[in-house]
Amino acid sequence: MNDLVVETKGLTKRYGKRAVVDRLDLHVERGQIYGFLGLNGAGKTTTIRMLMGLIHPSAGSARLFGRAVPAERMQVMRRVGALVESPSYYAHLSGWDNLKVVATLLDVPDRRIGEVLAIVRLTGDAKRKAGDYSLGMKQRLGIAAALIGSPDLVVLDEPTNGLDPAGIHEIRDLIRRMPREHGITVLVSSHLLAEIDQMATSVGVIHGGRLIFQGRIEELRARSREHVRVEIDRPADALVAASGLGARLTEAGDALVLDSTSPSDAANLVRALVARDIGVFRVEERRLSLEDIFLELTGEAGAA
C-alpha cells in the first residue's frame, strides 16, 4: 500500500515564461509533519493552491492519498483540510456561523463545531463577529475550519504569519499535537527555518520554484559541519606556517578555519602557529547553524 499522502511529479506552474513552481517532486508520508520551507515568493503558496485544486498545473501531476487533483478532487477533498494563505472568513458572521457554513457543506454535525472551537481555544469568542477578531484569532478560526471535517491531511500555509510570539507558540503546539492525538498528517509552510525546525519531522526546501532539499530534518542538520576557527594576528604567514595540516585549512579574514574537530588536529595547528611566533587570540569550535545551511542551500541554488 502506498503510504504517500501527498505526491507530486514534475509539478510545474508557469505564468507567462516564468516558472513559479518548477518540476516539483514532493513526498509527504502518512503521520509526518512536513515543513515546506522557502523564502517569500519561492512558490510555496502556488504549490499549495495546486494541491488543493484551486489552480491548474502547467505541467506535471499532483496526488493526494493516491488520487489525482484536480481531476479526482471531489473524492479526496473530504479528507483534506486547508488554510491557504491569509485566513478566509465572513467578517459579518460570528465565528460559530463561519464554521457552520463549512460544516453545512461538509455535512458535519454542530457538535463538531464546538469541538474544533475548543481545539483552537475560541469557544469563548464563538458568538463574536469574526471581523472583530484579532489576527491571531482569525488565524485560529481558519485552522478550526480546516479541522472541522476531521481530515486526515491538514495543509497550513504560513499559519503563524503576523502572529505575536504567544500566538506562534500556541499554533506550533497545536500542529505538533495533530499527528499524535488525531493521527493527522500535516503539511505546513513557512519562511522561517527556526519554526519548521521546532515542529517538522520532514522538510522540503523550495527556492525559486525548485525543490532543493527534501528529507528528514536530521539529514538537514547532519549537514551542519563542525569546524575549528582560530583567530590570529598574521593570517598570511599563518597559512604557510600550518601548511603541514593539508588542504583542510582555509583562510577567512583574520582567522584560519580548520575543517576538522579532532583534538590532535587543533593542537597541531596551534603548536605550529606558536612555533612561528604568530599570535593566537582565540580558538573556538563552530557549527553551521540550520540557518547557515538554509542560506547555503538557497545561495547555491540561486547561483546555479
Partner: protein
Amino acid sequence: MSELTHAARAAAPAPRRTPVLAYLAADWRRMRRTWLLPLTLMGPLGVTLMGVILFLMAGEPRLKGFRAGGLTGWEVVTGELGMVQVLALGLGAALLASMIVDVEHRSDTWKQMLGLPVSRGMVYGVKFAWAAALLAVSSVLMAVGYVALMVWLHLGPLPWAALATIAVLPWVATLPVLAFQLLLSTSMRNQALPLAVGVLTPIFGMGMSTMAAWMPWRLITQAMTVAVGGVVAGGPGESLTWLTPGVIVGLSVAWVVVLVSAGAVLLARREV
C-alpha cells in the same frame, strides 16, 4: 501511528456527494446580516412609496382619466409606476447579483469554499437561485404594493389576473439580466463596472427601440407591457410586439440556461 490514522478515518464520515440543500443552507447563512435581505424589501417598498408621493402631490390630475371613465384603476397605477418597476427590477438584479458574490470577493473565501469537496457549478447555480428567489419575493411584494395603492385610492375592484401576471412575468423576464449581471460580478473582484453596467443598461435598454426585442433588457419592458395590458406610460414607442407571454418565458429560460452555464464554466475554470 497506523492505529491513530485508522481511528481518525473511522471517525470521518464516508465521502458522499454534497446535497443541494446543503449548498442552499450554506448560502442562506452567508446572506444573513448582509444588505441582501433588506434590499429585497426596500425595492418594492420604495416603488410603492414613490406611488404614494406621486398621488399625494398631484392626485386629482393623475386620477382624471379614471374619474372620467376612460381608464381603469389598474391602468392608472401601473401607468404611473410600471416604468419605475422596470427600472427597479433591472437595478435590483444588478445589486443582488453583485452583493451575493461580493460576499465571497470581499472576504476572500472563494479559495476556502472551492477547496472543499463542492461542485463549482453547483456553487454558482445556487448563487443564481438565491438571487432569483430574492427577486421573486420583491416582485410579489411589488404586486402587494399595487394592491395597497388601489385600495387606498378606491380605484375599483382588484384585477387579480393582471396582479398575478405583474408579479410573475416581469420577474421571469428579469432573470436573463440577473444571469448576465451575476456572470459579470463573479468574473471581477471590483464591483464598480458590474454595477455601472447594471445601472445604465436598464435606462438605455428600456427605451431603446433599436435594441432587438428579444434582448434581456428589452424583455423586461415587453413583459411589463404585457402585464399592464398595453402601452406603458413613460416608455414612448413601446407597444405590444410579437412577444406573447409564452415567448417571453421561453426566451427568458433560454437566456438563463445559456448565461448561467457560461458563468458556471467560468467559475469552474477560474484560478483562485
